[in-house]
């Protein structure tokens, strides 16, 4: 529906004129927020040389709002600081009251904090990093104590929350973990197929897929998926609860946030992640079997026969055994970062990012450490 344009044409724009010969400054038009942008440069160019006494004629002001009044006040103040005297003339009563109010609120800007040198900033970042590490270690300590305590008194474990977390982190993650593991098995087998076929070593596809999936890829990839999926959720949930003071409310009711928010997640993830890893093993091997059949003419029966000989129980156990460690890392980092949220929506986003980056980073570092340790032990 066409609408009549607002009648802006006949409204006089905000104007400011300087008549140096007569010592007059004239303000006219609508000095309101929408029109002030045009005034700023004119006021900045004001040249007061050669005259000490000025008359400011505001008789032509059609409208004035607080922003306009501030600009007027600021101009007068600046002139006074330069040693000129200003006489206001023709100001309407309403505008005068507004100007008076603005003048009364005159607030000097707070001094900006001094600039920090680069060295100081580096130092601050380092100190903060150490403090963060200390905080995390103390959180790990508190959680361990609480975990041992609740294992000694199993009744204190919150069954409902625990099962809920188990479903969220474990059962609900089955489709995505399964699909990605299957594809990972397909990719490994596919890459290996050409090389193995060249040497006629088709059957060794079972060694390739079995060992790489069970020992390394399934636990690592499942942990990375869960860090992105559940670790971030833990941080966001606890962080939002911190912002809305729900965590404080829990404390005042006498429920330890660790008991309600951290332990169920920690326990649930430490059970869910090994199970997901086994599931991922199975799906990855199935993916490998599909490629073995289609590209290398290795029957599933032959594949499994070879698989049994190639993959020792210890390889499987090493893979699954790493999972609870990864789970503890992911859950503890996720929860810890949640509690680090300061109180703004921005913080929730920042800590969630930190949580995911840290947990994936640490999962890979710990996996590397495991490899080193196992090679020392010759397993």
């Amino acid at each position: 529906m066409p609408r009549a344009a607002p009648p802006t044409d006949h409204i006089p724009r905000a104007q400011f004129e300087q008549d140096s010969a007569r010592g007059e400054l004239r303000c006219s038009g609508t000095w309101t927020l929408n029109h002030l942008a045009a005034l700023e440069p004119a006021l900045a160019r004001l040249d007061m040389s050669g005259r000490a006494g000025w008359v400011l004629d505001a008789g032509g002001l059609a409208a004035l709002d607080t922003a306009g009044a501030w600009l007027l006040h600021r101009t007068c103040e600046r002139l006074r600081q330069l040693g000129a005297t200003i006489e206001l003339r023709g100001l309407r009563a309403g505008h005068a009251a507004l100007l008076e109010m603005v003048a009364a609120q005159h607030a000097p800007a707070e001094p900006t904090p001094p600039h920090r040198s680069r060295l100081e900033r580096v130092g601050r970042v380092a100190v903060e990093g150490v403090a963060q590490l200390e905080l995390f270690l103390s959180f790990v300590g508190q959680s361990s104590v609480a975990l041992l305590h609740s294992l000694a008194h199993p009744r204190r474990i919150r069954g409902h929350e625990f099962l809920h977390e188990l479903q969220l982190a474990g059962f609900n993650a089955l489709p995505i973990t399964g699909l990605l593991s299957f594809l990972m098995g397909v990719v490994i087998a596919y890459q290996g197929a050409t090389q193995l076929a060249r040497y006629g070593a088709n059957i060794f596809i079972a060694d390739l897929v079995g060992l790489s999936m069970l020992r390394e890829l399934a636990p690592l990839m499942t942990a990375v998926i869960i860090a992105g999926r559940s670790g971030s959720a833990y941080t966001a949930q606890i962080g939002t609860m911190v912002v809305t003071e729900e965590v404080d409310a829990l404390r005042t009711i006498g429920i330890a946030p660790l008991d309600l928010l951290v332990l169920p997640k920690l326990l649930a993830l430490m059970i869910a992640l090994p199970l997901l890893t086994v599931y991922s093993d199975v799906m990855g091997v199935i993916g490998g079997m599909v490629i073995a059949k289609t590209h290398l003419a290795v029957n599933p029966a032959d594949f499994l026969d070879r698989f049994e000989k190639a993959v020792s129980l210890s390889s499987y156990m090493i893979g699954v055994g790493k999972a609870p460690v990864f789970a503890a890392l992911i859950a503890l980092i996720g929860c810890h970062q949640g509690f680090q949220v300061g109180g703004s929506a921005d913080d929730v986003g920042r800590q969630t990012t930190v949580s995911v980056v840290q947990s994936i980073f640490l999962v890979i570092v710990v996996d590397a450490l495991f490899s080193v340790v196992f090679s020392w032990l010759n397993i």
Partner: protein
């Protein structure tokens, strides 16, 4: 202040709102005139805040007509809506300050968005607004979560006033404040109205505010407007819910206090 010839700024006509089967508004009608502080009162859950959300285009009523500043709110294109939004300010119940910005940046945000003024001038205007609502200059550099509840409300009010709106909607301005802060805010609302010539629509069930600040009050209840008028006029309305409002223990105390001050 009861000049009936003054321009109508808000007109609510036969507004009906339902959430599922629950009827919130059943033909609600009233109008607000330029330059008055108009309060909408009523018990919790009577649809005060929903009415506010309908007026500021955050919610569509099921039927009825809403006109704000001469524009038909329900049939406004995006451009018209944008123009209208610049002419009013809204203060939400919990302040809704942007938590990632300092108070100064919060107040300056609408100015940066809608004007072409220099950053320096915007900061000065923002500081002026911060001083105007009674916050100390040191509050400007703080983040919302470093402020007390009362200071946060004031900061929210400063942001509401950033663009020098003609019309200001205040949702529960004194909720969650101690009596002293609430009283200070009442004074502030009156003073700003007198100085800036604002029209204000206040959603509140704070009886002190209703007696001392509001020019006219509409009481909502049972989905309808139970009465509109000055508090004095409303105290003679014969409806159990309105009666409850005035002659409950707190109602009487607030009234006596207001009368003794006059």
């Amino acid at each position: 202040m009861s000049d009936a010839n003054r321009e109508t700024v808000i007109e609510v006509r036969d507004v009906c709102t339902r959430f599922g089967t629950a009827v919130v508004h059943d033909r609600v009608s009233f109008s607000v005139r330029r330059g008055e502080v108009f309060a909408v009162a009523g018990a919790s859950g009577c649809g005060k805040s929903t009415l506010l959300r309908e007026l500021i285009m955050l919610h569509q009523p099921d039927s009825g007509a809403l006109r704000v500043l001469g524009e038909d709110v329900l049939r406004l294109d995006e451009e018209g809506a944008e123009r209208l939004r610049r002419r009013w300010g809204v203060m939400f119940e919990r302040g809704a300050l942007f938590s990632a910005y300092t108070v100064l940046e919060n107040v300056g945000a609408p100015l940066h968005e809608h004007t072409r003024l220099s950053s320096e001038l915007i900061d000065e205007i923002a500081r002026l607004k911060i001083a105007l609502v009674g916050l100390p200059a040191s509050a400007a550099a703080k983040y919302p979560n470093e402020l007390s509840g009362g200071m946060r409300k004031r900061a929210a009010l400063a942001r509401t006033l950033a663009l020098d709106p003609e019309l200001v909607f205040l949702d529960e301005p004194s909720a969650g404040l101690d009596p002293l802060s609430a009283g200070g805010l009442d004074e502030l609302i009156r003073r700003l109205r007198d100085l800036l010539g604002l029209t204000m629509m206040v959603i509140s069930h704070d009886l002190d505010l209703l007696w001392r600040v509001a020019d006219r009050v509409a009481i909502l209840g049972e989905g309808r407007v139970l009465g509109v008028g000055t508090m004095e006029e409303l105290s003679h309305v014969d409806h159990p819910l309105v009666h409850e409002y005035f002659y409950g223990a707190r109602g009487r105390a607030a009234r006596e206090q207001a009368c003794s001050q006059k």
